[in-house]
């Protein structure tokens, strides 16, 4: 048995894990679930020695173990297959499987390739991998690469294997095969820790589900007779129906119209529009093309065809600069650390970056007093918790960073705002505040907003209309959402219909 006791882990500005206790049994498929930022991956990194807990202990069959690195975890028969595929494409299947112990296959001074290939074959047989050990990995499909990673994990004689969203890069057919293999592992007495967002998959495959929320352990249930709603309730801490914010006074006027948007290999003649003062939701799974579409509209990436009509006039946008300065369109990125904020710069600089051109005096000097004023106003409006406006953004908590990332576009005073996954990795309090803010932007300032979110409750709560995306297409539209109260379960099942 692998037992975690009171594990806590603190990162700058956030308590990622708060005395979590959990145990995993051999021969058990144990699912670990939770929203983004709930602490799943941090916990897994602690189990595999990549992170060290700030407090708490780990026991293996009753014996306390301490792990300082991933190597230590492997020594203790714990292994992990990470979400991203990590194989060396230029090497052979066998080489990838024995990679971490390749020094054990030395024959005086040269590698014993026969022994490497034989050893790899054993584990390939174990999971039914019908390839030759000498095949190059380069041209194999994602599923094969995942399987190679599992063979690699098994070849270290792992008794516990962590699978981090293993099916996210697999097709339906590949997934079926993959699940067979996991069941095989279970029969052989391996403890499988299965991280997934797909509730149906978890219910059909796993023996037990444990849920984390905001870094805390919520509880564990056996999967038998467990319903989807039960898991969701544990994950988000309440029933899925949210209090309604009411209806928005949406104008008939279309501020943005996208006609026949085409990008070869991605979109084929996509059409949609945005009305003044509405919140248009984009729902879809990760990889359905929502972010790519927005990036192409604002000129961050190139498209191959189609027209853009802004405020009734034809528009051509070639860069983010043009989108902002000529058309007043702002895009709040889903990826604040890489695209949204310069973490080493102050709050002032990060918020001010979009407005410098507008606050020049006669000799084209930036009026720093006006800059400070605007930034101060934004800090108030967004309730950003920061020691001073000169504080480096990187030292703020995730929620406050996200607020700064939104604030810079509010400061720019855009009429059309595209907001991409605004509450990923944000704590509950900040989430509520960001929701209110988005709502008030539409209600009080008549901003027109496109909201991309994979968080269905969030989208249903805020959006007055939802477009459903699947495989680079708009597969459905829900246009009855601008009402005083919304029926969550009806709306979500309606979206579900479009997706299948």
């Amino acid at each position: 048995m692998l037992e975690l006791k009171d594990i806590s882990k603190i990162f700058p500005g956030v308590k990622a894990l708060d005395s979590v206790s959990l145990s995993f049994l051999p021969g058990e498929i144990h699912a670990l679930m939770g929203e983004n930022g709930a602490g799943k991956s941090t916990l897994m990194k602690i189990i595999t020695g990549i992170y060290q807990p700030d407090s708490g202990e780990i026991f293996y069959d009753g014996r306390k173990i301490e792990m300082r690195s991933f190597r230590d975890a492997v020594e203790h028969d714990i292994n992990m297959v990470s979400q991203e595929i990590q194989v060396i494409p230029e090497s052979t299947v066998a080489e990838n499987i024995v990679l971490d112990r390749i020094d054990k296959f030395k024959n005086t001074w040269k590698l014993d390739w026969n022994r490497i290939n034989e050893t790899a074959q054993i584990y390939m047989d174990l999971i039914g991998l019908d390839l030759s050990p000498t095949d190059k990995v380069e041209n194999l499909s994602a599923a094969y690469k995942q399987l190679i990673q599992i063979a690699k994990a098994l070849s270290s004689n792992a008794k516990y294997i962590i699978l981090d969203e293993p099916t996210s890069s697999l097709t339906t057919f590949e997934t079926v095969r993959f699940i067979e293999i996991i069941k095989e592992l279970k029969k052989k007495g391996v403890g499988v820790i299965f991280i997934s967002h797909k509730i149906e998959e978890v219910l059909s495959l796993c023996d037990k589900v444990s849920v984390l929320r905001d870094g805390k352990y919520v509880g564990s249930r056996t999967c038998e007779n467990l319903q989807r709603q039960d898991i969701v309730k544990m994950m988000i801490g309440r029933e899925e129906n949210l209090e309604s914010l009411g209806a928005l006074p949406v104008k008939e006027e279309k501020v943005l119209e996208v006609r026949d948007h085409t990008t070869y290999g991605q979109f084929n003649k996509l059409n949609f529009y945005l009305k003044k003062g509405e919140i248009l939701g984009f729902y879809g799974l990760v990889g359905s093309g929502r972010t790519e579409l927005l990036r192409q509209i604002i000129g961050a990436d190139k498209k191959d065809g189609g027209e853009l009509i802004i405020n009734g006039k034809k528009a051509i946008i070639r860069s983010v600069e043009e989108a902002l300065e000529s058309y007043g369109i702002g895009y709040v990125t889903e990826n604040r650390k890489e695209e949204g904020l310069v973490l080493d710069f102050s709050v002032t600089t990060n918020v001010g970056i979009t407005i410098w051109k507008k606050i020049l005096n006669k000799v084209r000097k930036i009026k720093t007093s006006e800059e400070s004023e605007i930034v101060e106003k934004m800090i108030q409006k967004m309730a950003i918790k920061t020691p001073t406006d000169k504080t480096k953004v990187g030292t703020l908590s995730g929620g406050n960073q996200q607020k700064v990332s939104i604030a810079k576009w509010l400061a720019a005073d855009c009429d059309i705002l595209m907001i991409d996954e605004p509450t990923v990795g944000v704590d509950v309090g900040a989430k509520v505040h960001i929701h209110e803010l988005i709502w008030n932007l539409a209600l009080k300032e008549e901003k027109s907003i496109i909201l991309v979110s994979s968080d269905m409750p969030e989208l249903i709560k805020l959006a007055t209309r939802i477009l459903v995306f699947k495989d680079w297409k708009i597969v459905g539209e829900l246009d009855y959402l601008n009402v005083e109260s919304k029926d969550y379960s009806r709306i979500s099942s309606h979206i579900g219909e479009y997706l299948t």
């Binding site: 961050a300 860069s319 983010v320 949204g340 080493d344």
Partner: protein, 339 residues
């Protein structure tokens, strides 16, 4: 009151350039103690002149480091400028003022070439400027055939050799350049955008900044300052040597980095650069004064550079530790508050 003062003193000592200033003072004391000729007005004047040239060279490097790049070719841009000016005056008979303008244009065009290749083909500035280094060297050798142009009119050396209030003109110029750049990076849109590009190019792009423009601009600026350094070098020596600039690349990095220009970009520190150039010049000069073996000079400079960069890293690690402790305490307090 005393605590307030201590806090302020601590904050002052925490500033990056303070370490460099202290090092300059310390070295100054040591050298003047052990050598009677160090603290003479003649020697100090000379120190100032060399430091000024180093400031221009390091500005040329810092400008591209700020946008997250580097310029290995700046010494050869300097050399090319020197040859262009020398050739114009001596072979083409162009008046000196015009020759200077030609030289500046040559520098800016060379920088423009770097910038355009880097942005148009999305190449790493290391490889691009490495390649253009060869091009510029080839041009220098081809045009000059290796011979110096020494028929430079005496009026040309006025700026390089004269001074005001016993401070060389070139040093005044260098200080002026640092002050102007300090203003540009603090108060102008262009300057701020260049800094933001270096801070994080993706963020800058997604915030509506034309990052190609800022990168090209930084490279043109780099060429301009390399050219200025070259022209001032002619003015100082009174002849246009094609070998000018061969040793600039290492010096430019050393001064910029010791002066607090963070290699990953986004930071400009004029005061730090001023004192860093003094530091390097003093080490070189002081060692001669102390009769140290000058053949080892580069080794001493290397050690100082290593010390300077490690200092930055050590400071970063200490800060992180402190921040972590602070956050932990804060969370403990918050936790108690909830209970």
């Amino acid at each position: 009151m005393a605590g307030d003062l201590r806090k302020r003193l601590k904050k002052l000592l925490g500033r990056y350039e303070v370490t460099t200033i202290l090092a300059v003072l310390l070295l100054g004391c040591i050298f003047s103690l052990f050598s009677s000729s160090f603290l003479t007005s003649y020697n100090l004047f000379n120190l100032g002149r060399t430091a000024a040239i180093y400031i221009f060279i390091s500005i040329a490097q810092a400008l591209v480091i700020i946008v997250g790049g580097m310029n290995l070719s700046l010494g050869f841009i300097g050399g090319l400028t020197v040859v262009a000016v020398g050739y114009s005056i001596q072979e083409a008979g162009i008046p000196p003022m015009l020759a200077v303008l030609i030289g500046l244009c040559v520098g800016m065009i060379a920088g423009l070439l770097n910038g355009i290749v880097i942005t148009a083909f999305r190449l790493n500035s290391f490889v691009v400027t490495l390649a253009t280094s060869f091009i510029f060297t080839g041009l220098i050798n081809g045009i000059s055939q290796g011979y110096p142009y020494d028929q430079i009119p005496p009026s040309f050396t006025l700026i390089g050799r004269g001074g005001l209030f016993s401070v060389p003109y070139v040093l005044w110029l260098a200080i002026l350049a640092l002050a102007i750049l300090g203003y540009v990076f603090k108060y102008t849109v262009v300057g701020r955008r260049v800094l933001a590009t270096g801070g994080n190019i993706e963020v800058a792009k997604m915030s509506g900044i034309n990052t190609n423009k800022t990168i090209i601009l930084a490279n043109v600026g780099s060429g301009l300052f390399a050219a200025l350094a070259g022209i001032l070098w002619i003015s100082r020596t009174g002849s246009a040597q094609p070998s000018t600039g061969a040793d600039w690349m290492l010096i430019s990095f050393a001064v910029a980095v010791i002066g607090g220009t963070v290699l990953k970009g986004g930071v400009f520190n004029p005061i730090g650069m001023f004192f860093a150039s003094l530091l390097i010049v003093m080490v070189k000069n002081g060692l001669v004064m102390l009769n140290a073996n000058v053949y080892f000079e580069q080794a001493y400079l290397g050690v100082i550079l290593l010390l300077a960069v490690s200092l930055e890293s050590i400071r970063f690690l200490l800060n992180r530790k402190k921040m972590k402790r602070h956050l932990k305490e804060q969370q403990l307090i918050e936790g108690k508050g909830k209970e």
